[in-house]
Amino acid sequence: MELLPQILINALITGSLYALIAVGFSLTYGVLKILNFSHCHLMMAGAYLFYLFFVELEFGIFSSALCTIAASVFLASIVFFLFIRPFEGRSILLPLVSTLGCATILESLVAIFFGVNVKSLSGDWISESIEIGSIFVTPLQLLIISTAIIISVVLAIILQFTPFGRQVRAVAERATAAESVGITPVRVRFTVFSAAVLLTILGGILVGFESNLTPTMGQSFILKAVAASVLGGLGNVWGTLAGSFILGFIENIAVGIDIGGFSLPASYKDSFAFFVILFVLLLRPNGIFSMRRRSV
């Protein structure tokens, strides 16, 4: 129990990372109506591209960031126009299978070009621990938390108060009606998809700095993204943000607490997401923040 403040901070950090990754996944489902299983593999690919620019080619941090943004938009376009767009209006299974295939292609390409060994992004000032009261944080971790908060606020403002945000909400709600008032659904979908991919790649880069990069990290994070989104309600941005922090909280508390000498081994940490998914699907498939009791 003495560790509680530290556990809470860790929960906040984990939750922030999950928030950055999951919000894009949820938004993609809400607007494009597909489960993009290649979401976290795109995150992995983007993080590796940043690694390529920052570590291997040794560009400065700003140039690397710009190059990564450009490359990510290019990657998002390829994925959108080759793996998602051709299957609109057909069976739901097609984009599911296609994105699974895309994910595997990305994973094998990264493994071929970068190797399967673990890579790490590092910076000197980022990793020094600061002590605040009884908790230890690094500047990187504070950066992660503040990025998540800023992005959430910006996203909320855009979706709620700008004309483009209204277009997004219109297409998410009823694309045919949106089309009849002059909105081009394809353009909106593409922009949302690219934004989602960029956000998740940002999350991936922060994960690279915080821990490390491996080609299989897409497989591990997709379940966290799915868990956070399902918990908060797929398509519901605020719900997904809340769900990410709840998930971070559950994971850190469950392996952190020590009831009378019995504690869970840390290796079970990742399993909670899976149980959360099944639990939510059993009881409240639309997410715990949804008022709908529609059968799923």
Binding site: P86, R90, S91, L94, L96, V97, T104, I112, A273, L281
Partner: protein, 289 residues
């Protein structure tokens, strides 16, 4: 010759695995991402049974199939009430739980180190030590399994399942119990996956969690889709094609750590290409009359 026997055994194991996946995905249009979990459970049951216990061949096979089937009933209870997108999520989560349990329950499964030294099967004290005799056994078992699956495909159960996949509400209107039918299909499909896992354990003599990963799932998906979902003979052809096509990569002059990813790349590119080329006919919402 040894290499040829190895390929044949592998093809037979994948035939059982892929055809059982064809039942749920091809006929029922249920994307069961936990199929590899059934495969893994079958392999581990055989591994544990023959190393710590002393199971004979038939006991091990039946135990493996039955355990996989039971677990699929658990999965079906949760997942079969959900629609397409959420169904995929539920089965993916279940698959990951099985994977996490295999890695973490070190007392039973030996964690990431896996279980080695699985003996070759014994039929009445006669051990099938060399690969050719094992091939005969696997071939016989595969033949029986495929015959059962063929009867399933072409009989009334297969027809009903196919109808359920194409138009669920129409079948409900005809008064069929869809939940029972899907649960049965799941059970049968998982049992065969467990059986294939058992054969895998007997052949490779070593099981570990990494052989049952996400990429196995995409391989199965590729096989069923390339072989036209719901088609018995198509699936047989595509299994042979997709298991054998990456083999020439072994003989090229590339470093060994690249062989795995290149194999994966080849198979997933084939998947996406076939899906893209067949996008109008695959899982179509209406059928040409």
């Amino acid at each position: 010759m040894e290499y040829g026997i190895h390929l044949c055994i592998l093809v037979c194991i994948y035939l059982i695995l892929a055809q059982s996946f064809n039942i749920t995905l091809g006929l029922g249009r249920l994307l069961n991402l936990a199929h590899v979990a059934g495969y893994a459970i079958g392999a581990y049951v055989t591994a544990i049974g023959t190393t710590t216990g002393d199971m004979g061949l038939f006991t091990a096979i039946i135990a493996s199939s039955f355990t996989s089937g039971l677990l699929s009933l658990l999965l079906g209870g949760i997942a079969l009430r959900l629609s397409d997108d959420y169904f995929a999520i539920g089965t993916l989560a279940f698959s990951s739980i099985v994977s996490a349990l295999l890695i973490n329950c070190k007392g039973v499964t030996n964690g990431v180190l896996g279980i080695s030294g699985i003996p070759r099967p014994k039929i009445a004290d006669f051990e099938l030590l060399n690969n050719s005799s094992f091939l005969f056994l696997v071939f016989a078992i595969t033949f029986v399994c495929l015959a059962i699956i063929y009867i399933l495909f072409s009989g009334p159960f297969g027809r009903a399942l196919r109808a359920q996949g194409e138009n669920r509400s129409a079948l409900l209107a005809l008064g069929r119990d869809i939940r029972l039918m899907n649960t049965t299909a799941f059970f049968i499909s998982s049992s065969f996956a467990g059986l294939a896992g058992s054969l895998y354990a007997y052949y490779i003599n070593y099981v570990d969690p990494s052989s049952f990963s996400f990429s196995e799932m995409t391989l199965l998906l590729t096989i069923v889709i390339v072989g036209s979902p719901g088609s018995f003979w198509g699936c047989i052809g595509s299994t042979i094609f997709l298991v054998c096509i990456p083999e020439p990569l072994r003989f090229l002059d590339i470093p060994s750590y690249l062989v795995g990813p290149m194999r994966q790349l080849l198979q997933s590119v084939i998947l996406v290409l076939v899906v893209w080329l067949n996008r109008n006919r695959l899982f179509s919402l209406t059928r040409e009359v």
